[in-house]
Symmetry: C2
Subunit: 360 residues, 2 copies
C-alpha cells in the first residue's frame, strides 16, 4: 500500500432518521444497524484498511463521539481521531482534515468517505478506490464515486456526467442534483447518464486546498493562517478558534457544484448510504416472509415485510403486522408504518416538543 | 360493621392471558392493569374494607406471592396473609380459609372473592354484599353474585336461576354453565334468566364446611382432622401435609354444581373479571380515538382502538396501528391484534418451547 494515500472517515452525523436506535449521544455510525455483528464505522474502517495503511486512516467526528470511536476502533492510532469542536457541516470538516494531512505529507492523496455506507462487495470496492487514488495522483482532479442506480430513489443526490470518458471508466461531471422528486428521479434513471452520488470523494490534499482557496476563500484563510499549528500541541485550541469563526456549509454546495475539475467513476457495486430504516431492511438478511430482524429473541407470527430491531436480551413477540418498523431500545419503543419512515424526523420533533431532549 | 363477617380475597392466580405484563412471579392481581394508580388487589382490598372490618379480611395466595401482598397491602394484618404451599385449584383453598376462620369464630359469615374483579360502582356493590351477608347469616345457603349480562361474552361462566324469588332479589340457582360458545351465549342473554357468575361467594363457614363434608369428603377429612392446629405455630407444617395429599379441584365443579342450597343475587353494577387485555381496554379511560394507555410517555399518531401498556419511564411512539394490544415490559415486548387475545396463551407456549421459562 502507498504511504502517500490516506482515508478520512467522516463520522460526525447524528442519523436522526434512525431514531430511536440512533441517538444524539450515540448515533447510527456506531450501531450495528444491519445486525451483522459489526457497527457501521467498524465495517467502513475494515473496508478502507484494505485500501490504505491503517496509520493513514483518520476518523473525523464530533468531540462528543471521540471516546466511542476509540472504543470501537482499537486498531486505529488514537492520534488519528480528529475531533470537531462544533458541527459546521462538511466543508470545514474537509478543510480541517485536508490541511492536517497536507501538513504531514505534502504529497498526500486522500479519500474522504462517510462512515455509514454499506458496500458488501469489497473486491469491486477496492478496485474502484485504487482507480480513483491513481487518477487523482496524476491529475489535479476531484473525483466522486458514482453508483449505477438500480431504482428511482428520491433520497439520494444524483450526478449527471458527460458521455465521453476522460480516462477508462472516468467521466467529467456536468451537474449535481440533490434529492429529486419521484418523476424526476425516474427520468434520471431512464436517461442513463445519471448516477447516485456516493459522497466518497478522492483528491490530492493540495488539489482540494486549492479548491477551497478559489471557492471558499473565507474557510481557506482561517485554516491557512494557522496550518503550522496542526499536528502540534496547539491544534485543539487553534481549531476551536477556527471553527467558532467558520461558516456552516456543505462540501457539495461550497465546492463540488462550483469546481470545474470534478470527475466521477461509475461503480457497479451494491451500495447503500443506510439513510433510513427501509434501506436497512433492504440490506439485512430476511426470513421467508421478508422480515428483517436484529435481536436474538424475536418471534413473529402472521407477520410480513417488517423490520424488528431490538437488543439480544429482550423478547419481542409480534403478531399480525405487515410493513412496519419496530424499534425497541431501553427507553424508547417506536412502531411505525414503513411508508412513513420519512416522517420519523417529524415524530422526533413532536417528541422533543412534548418531552424535551430526554428521549432524543 | 359486623365482627362476624369476613372476607377472603383469593389471590393465587397466575393471569397468563395478561402476559407479558402478568408474569409467573408477579401476576396480574398485583399490577395496575387499568392504569388507575392502584393494583387490582389494592382496589379489591379497598372495596371490601367498606364491607367488613379490616382485621376480618384475609388474602389467600401462593406462598410465592406472600411478600408482594404484604408490600401492596400495608393495612392488612400480616397474619391475615394465608399462603398456600401448592396450587390445588379453588376447592382446597376455600376449605383452608373456611376452616381457619371457623376455628377462630364459629359464627363467622364469609365472602370469598377474586382479587382481580373490577367494580367501579362501590355503593351498589356494598349494598349487594350486605344483602348477601345478611341472607346467609339467616339461612344455611351458599350464594354467588350474578351479574346482569350486557353482551354474549364467551369467556364467562353463566348461572341459570329459577324465576321465583326466595327473598327479595334472591333466586335459587338451577344450573351453572362454563364458557359457552357464541351461539349459546346469545341464547342465554335472550332467555333473560341467565346471569354471569362473578365468583363472589357468600356463606357461613359452617355451611360451606358442611358442603365439603357432603360433596368433597376427601378434602373435608384432611382439613377436619387437623383443624385444631390452624391459627397455631403448627399451621404451616400441617397445611403442607394436607395440601400434598389434597386433590386439585375447583369449587365450582366440586361444590357449586352439586349442592342443593345455592342461590344467586342478581347485581346490576358494572363488573369485569379483567380476564383479558380486551376487558382491560373496555374498562380503561380512552382517548378520542379509543386508545387506552397506561404509561406517561405514550405518543400515538394515526392510531385507533389500541391498548398500549408500558412503564412511566419509557417513551412509546406508535403510528398507523388499529386494534392492537401493545405491551412493553423491561424484558418483553408484545404486539398483537386485539382479536387474537385468546391466542396469547398459545404464543406463551411457543415462547416457553423456544426460550424456556426465562420470559414467562
Amino acid at each position: 500500500m502507498n504511504k502517500n494515500q490516506y482515508v478520512a472517515i467522516m463520522a460526525g452525523g447524528i442519523g436522526s432518521r434512525f431514531w430511536p436506535k440512533s441517538r444524539t449521544n450515540f448515533p447510527k455510525q456506531f450501531l450495528d444497524i444491519l445486525g451483522t455483528g459489526k457497527t457501521l464505522i467498524q465495517a467502513t474502517f475494515n473496508r478502507y484498511s484494505k485500501v490504505v495503511p491503517i496509520e493513514n486512516i483518520y476518523v473525523v467526528t464530533s468531540h462528543d463521539y471521540a471516546a466511542i470511536v476509540e472504543a470501537q476502533l482499537p486498531a486505529l492510532p488514537k492520534e488519528n481521531i480528529v475531533a470537531e469542536p462544533f458541527r459546521k457541516n462538511t466543508a470545514p470538516c474537509i478543510a480541517y482534515i485536508a490541511f492536517k494531512i497536507h501538513e504531514k505529507n505534502p504529497d498526500a492523496v486522500m479519500i474522504a468517505a462517510p462512515a455509514d455506507n454499506h458496500i458488501p462487495d469489497e473486491e469491486k470496492f477496492i478496485g474502484v478506490m485504487n482507480k480513483a487514488l491513481d487518477f487523482v495522483g496524476h491529475i489535479n482532479a476531484i473525483t466522486t464515486v458514482g453508483i449505477l442506480p438500480t431504482h428511482p430513489n428520491t433520497g439520494y443526490g444524483y450526478i449527471q456526467h458527460e458521455s465521453a470518458e476522460v480516462a477508462p471508466g472516468i467521466y467529467k461531471v456536468k451537474t449535481f442534483t440533490e434529492k429529486p422528486n419521484l418523476e424526476l428521479a425516474k427520468a434520471f434513471i431512464e436517461s442513463g447518464d445519471f448516477l447516485w452520488n456516493s459522497g466518497i470523494f478522492t483528491w490530492k490534499c493540495k488539489t482540494i486546498i486549492e479548491a477551497f482557496e478559489q471557492h471558499l476563500p473565507e474557510v481557506y484563510e482561517l485554516f491557512y493562517s494557522d496550518k503550522d499549528k496542526l499536528n502540534t500541541a496547539e491544534e485543539q485550541k487553534v481549531i476551536e478558534e477556527i471553527y467558532s469563526q467558520c461558516p456552516s456549509i456543505s462540501i457539495d454546495f461550497g465546492i463540488m457544484e462550483k469546481a470545474g475539475n470534478v470527475y466521477t467513476i461509475p461503480a457497479s457495486f451494491s451500495w447503500s448510504d443506510l439513510g433510513t430504516w427501509n434501506s436497512a431492511h433492504a440490506n439485512m438478511e430476511k426470513d421467508y416472509f421478508d422480515n428483517a430482524v436484529a435481536g436474538r429473541n424475536v418471534m413473529a407470527f402472521d407477520t410480513q415485510n417488517c423490520i424488528v430491531h431490538t437488543s439480544d436480551k429482550k423478547l419481542v413477540l409480534v403478531q399480525g403486522l405487515e410493513d412496519y418498523i419496530i424499534v425497541d431500545t431501553d427507553d424508547v419503543l417506536m412502531i411505525c408504518k414503513k411508508e412513513k419512515e420519512q416522517e420519523i424526523k417529524d415524530y422526533v420533533s413532536e417528541v422533543k416538543k412534548a418531552k424535551g431532549d430526554k428521549f432524543l
